[in-house]
Assembly symmetry: C2
DNA sequence: ACTGTTATTGAGACTCAATATCAAAAAAGG
DNA sequence: CCTTTTTTGATATTGAGTCTCAATAACAGT
């Protein structure tokens, strides 16, 4: 019993439209990433595939991640001193992040109000917003109490 | 006639508190960065100083930028495939960014409403926000008209 | 199926931002 | 001036991400 990863169709038509091919490697990488709930980074994806015996080179992993990004299936959440961190946006409602500077905890949140306010601000500037990233840094409930 | 860079005092006391020293190099780099209105990246700072004959090694530039970041004098705005981009936050009111995906134009904006809404959202989560970064990607007025 | 065309793969070289090393130089404080 | 501790800087090193290019695989047409 094979579960079809969400976004497979989207990715396929994205590739076909650009005259690009749907290869074994791309499918494997798409599957792997789809199975990752939460945040991930390219290097870990590559290593995990390698450990599991799934055949795909580092170059292909990076290339496919770039394609998925262009296609809108994943979003770059942030970049640390050790590379980029992504998250899949498919089957995952849009949200923003709070990052605790003490313990590293990441809180996902969503606010309709916030979204529509941003739209208002964009139209004031004649700007057509397509996507955004909001990261609020500070201290989570637990870490505040420890003080 | 020497203009004292804004933030020099803050930086000095920050260093003193940590038992670190206020050296010629650090002062030069602070000055250089203060004179940069807008966004900058470490490598350009280093190259510009080198061209102007200001003495400071690449290592010192990077080290000092990290210190200024810890101190809160500068903020990392984003990271491209060619390194980090910062902006000085001193003497510069907080704001967020819109980035045009077509022409690369950066629009700075600020909204009280947006700020206070974010604070509300934070307190709902028991989170103490310290700083944030919001980047809205899309198309600016000019580029929309070109379509 | 077979074939020709064209995109893709992968091993490893390469790039480039950023950091580590460490001996020599410079502050700070007697 | 002298001692101690931090800083500097030239250079080596790291590491994420990309490029190269010959070999291979996907696709379209027959």
């Amino acid at each position: 019993m094979k579960s079809v990863p969400p976004g497979k169709k989207l990715f396929s038509s994205f590739l076909r439209e650009r005259g690009q091919r749907i290869t074994k490697e791309r499918t494997l990488i798409l599957q792997k990433i789809s199975s990752c709930s939460g945040h991930f980074d390219p290097e870990s994806i590559y290593m995990q595939m390698r450990e599991t015996g799934l055949k795909a080179s580092r170059a292909s992993v990076y290339r496919t991640i770039n394609l998925m990004h262009e296609c809108g299936l994943i979003e770059r959440v942030r970049t640390t001193d050790r590379g980029s961190i992504y998250e899949s946006t498919f089957g995952h409602k849009h949200h923003d992040h709070m990052l605790c500077l003490q313990c590293g905890k990441v809180i996902e949140f969503y606010s309709d109000e916030l979204e529509s306010l941003q739209e208002d601000i964009c139209s004031e500037q004649g700007f057509q917003g397509k996507s955004h990233t909001l990261e609020i840094r500070g201290f989570c409930r637990k870490c505040r109490k420890k003080e």
